[in-house]
Symmetry: C2
């Protein structure tokens, strides 16, 4: 079982030192172990949990909901179905978000093509270009 200094934990997880302290402060991390002089020593478990946090965060889960997940996790095995529900809802939210992004991306690509077409028109032939609605 490795112990990570704050610097190593930051390196490993990609969170800044301040963010790690912040997450501990708000209870997203449970209190991190300390060495003799009071400095944090992150465990493998902490690093793993931070991986989960990063995953949830990067998929757009707000901190409040991550906190709820953290609390469920701490509360023990009887909360597993709640955790499944929470994650499944989030999974669906991510699915929806991706579908939305794809849709909007289509509009952007359409617009790019519109501009390309405008550029392709020889100068004299171009009376007046009005932009389409979106």
């Amino acid at each position: 079982m490795t112990a990570y200094t704050p610097g190593q934990a930051a390196e490993e997880t990609g969170f800044s030192l301040d963010t790690l302290r912040y997450y501990e402060r708000i209870g997203l991390l449970e209190p991190i172990e300390r060495n003799a002089v009071g400095q944090r020593r992150f465990s493998d478990g902490d690093i793993g949990w931070l991986g989960m946090i990063r995953c949830l965060r990067d998929t757009g889960m707000p901190i409040a909901e991550m906190l709820r997940f953290a609390e469920l996790t701490r509360a023990g095995e009887h909360t597993i179905s709640d955790r499944i529900a929470l994650l499944a809802a989030h999974d669906q939210a991510v699915e929806d978000k991706i579908a939305d992004l794809r849709r909007q991306q289509g509009a952007i690509q359409h617009k790019i093509q519109f501009y390309r077409d405008v550029l392709a028109i020889p100068d004299g032939l171009c009376e007046r270009q009005d932009e389409p609605a979106s």
Copy 2:
């Protein structure tokens, strides 16, 4: 050519009245036409532009970059290739974001499956469940 009251424009575009005024204030919209008593009347062109804004906003473009796009658009046709470049870069950013979401979604689904497996283990057979790294 229809004219939209602020309320209608909000309805049509999904932006709040305050947001519409805010966008005009910061220059994301050019100054909206006013009627005799100083109330805004949005044109079809405004509504179309707001559709573009919504599309860019919802795909995560920061306001500063939308402002740049707005300025290019106002500057005239000689900026079209710049606009293409801007939109193409954003299109790529959206593509990357989607790929990222898919990757992280995989991890979430993996975790859900892990929890489902835990639930499937009959009570006595379960010595101790440690969570995987993520």
